[in-house]
């Protein structure tokens, strides 16, 4: 479904070039739940953001459903409709009600009528138990509620894959659970997911494959049991000893 070949990303800063991704190769199949872990600055968020071209790779190829999306002339907007993304800081639209947040894209892109989009939105809100917040504004909601709505907003586009960029890192500890719960349900329904997170329990429980990234490379990848119980790479062993 997603195929990444020798992906490189270099940021050009005033202090010189900074190579964040140093050649990553990955195949992500339909239905997989890939969890990416690693120390901060390892490039895992950049890797995720390269998948839907929020960051433009400076080398290599990214393929999605048979199309090379970082080739010139590719209609990125079209492809992003099928790749939902959830951000660390939720990024709900503060000037729109919850309902409008969810229906904006489907209605604007003429994928659904206003009525259809609202029905779908209410149905999704009901699933996460926030249907009574449909007319509230994001600032009236807790972080956990906002993030769940951000997930629903992405789901309203009926994506084929969902990308999560540290979805619980900006949350108060007591709200992490409710967001992870929604993600777990999504995983059980068969959604293809790529998740960058520091939640090791979530990785162990939900992932079909865990990647360890450090200094712009994937140093180890394995099924969760193998990954957490028998890590091979010394840097991963060191990392796990610190976070577990």
């Amino acid at each position: 479904m997603i195929s990444v070949k020798n992906l490189e990303k270099t940021f050009h800063t005033q202090r010189g070039d900074l190579q964040v991704l140093k050649g990553i190769n990955q195949e992500i199949q339909k239905g997989e739940k890939v969890v990416v872990v690693g120390p901060s600055g390892s490039g895992k968020s950049t890797f995720l953001r390269c998948l839907n071209l929020l960051e433009m790779p400076t080398g290599g190829e990214v393929w999605f459903e048979g199309t090379q999306i970082n080739a010139p002339g590719c209609d990125v907007d079209q492809l992003r409709r099928k790749m939902g993304m959830v951000f660390q800081h939720f990024n709900l639209f503060p000037h729109l009600s919850v309902l409008k947040n969810i229906t904006l894209a489907p209605v604007t892109l003429k994928l659904k009528s206003e009525k259809e989009a609202e029905d779908k939105a209410m149905q999704l809100l009901k699933r996460i138990g926030l249907q009574d917040k449909a007319n509230a504004y994001p600032s009236q909601l807790s972080g956990g509620q906002q993030q769940r709505i951000a997930i629903v907003r992405a789901l309203a586009m009926e994506p084929d894959v969902m990308l999560f960029d540290e979805p619980t890192s900006a949350l108060d500890p007591e709200m992490v659970g409710e967001v992870l719960q929604v993600m777990k349900e999504l995983a059980h329904e068969g959604m293809t997911m790529v998740v960058v997170t520091h939640e090791m329990n979530f990785a162990r429980e939900v992932a079909t494959r865990v990647l360890f990234m450090d200094e712009g490379l994937v140093l180890e990848e394995a099924k969760p049991d193998e990954f957490f119980d028998h890590p091979k790479n010394p840097r991963l062993q060191d990392f796990l000893s610190k976070v577990l």
């Binding site: 929020l54 992003r80 990024n91 604007t108």
Partner: protein, 241 residues
């Protein structure tokens, strides 16, 4: 009181009624004020609209170019020149050049509206640009990640928030513009200020016409300022917890 008004002859107060009659009632002279008021309001309103449209366009050009230096290079240069010239020269000079040179054969009132609009646009552009820049980058990323193109993201997500952020500043700009139009008399437009001045030149009474003009401006500005705080409260409703 006595020392304060020592130099004012007593007749000043006893003649007030007569002066009022001469200034405003006789030969319907109040019409100078009424017409002037109408002109001032119309010039301001039209200039405001021109200013917002022009300012938004210029801000968009500059932001687009800033985000991608390859885009709109020439248009951005023109906008930069526009901002420099308009903000670097007195509005009165601009008004006179517009009326007496560029549109010498045009209807003076229309040309004045345009001149004030163009002038205001330069200031509004910078305000709106800062408003657009104040919108968090994550908002653009969220919009794009949903498959919206950059134009739709700008119009549906960024601009509404930018306008909201800068509405008070833009509104303030227009309160300033209202007062600035008082120079329109220089090019022969009978605005509120000129109306009062005409009465003064007829009756040789400077006190009443000019103070009335000042009072009208003041009331207008106070009313607009009240609207502004109402607007601010409404705009921030979605921020309330």
């Amino acid at each position: 009181m006595q020392t304060l008004f020592a130099s004012v002859p007593l007749s000043f107060f006893s003649d007030l009624g007569q002066q009022f009659y001469d200034d405003f009632i006789l030969k319907d002279r109040y019409m100078y004020i009424v017409q002037g008021f109408a002109n001032t309001v119309v010039i301001t309103l039209v200039a405001v609209i021109i200013g917002i449209i022009l300012g938004t366009l210029v801000a968009l050009v500059r932001i687009t170019h800033q985000n991608n230096p390859k885009k709109l290079r020439i248009l951005n240069k023109i906008c930069g020149l526009y901002l420099t010239v308009i903000r670097g020269t007195p509005v009165l000079v601009q008004l006179m050049i517009m009326v007496y040179f560029i549109f010498a054969s045009g209807e003076t009132l229309l040309v004045a509206m345009l001149a004030f609009g163009i002038n205001s646009g330069a200031y509004v552009a910078e305000v709106i640009r800062s408003g657009i820049q104040s919108v968090d980058r994550g908002q653009i990323e969220a919009g794009r990640s949903l498959g919206l193109n950059s134009r739709t993201t700008m119009s549906k997500i960024v601009l509404p928030q930018a306008f909201k952020n800068v509405a008070p500043a833009v509104f303030n700009e227009f309160i300033a513009l209202l007062k600035e139009t008082s120079i329109a008399g220089y090019v022969g437009i009978q605005d509120l200020t000129k109306g009062g001045d005409i009465i003064r030149s007829i009756t040789y009474d400077a006190f009443m016409p000019l103070f009335l003009v000042a009072a009208i401006y003041l009331v207008l500005v106070i009313l607009l300022t009240m609207c502004l705080s109402k607007l601010e409260r409404r705009l921030h409703q979605s921020d309330k917890r």
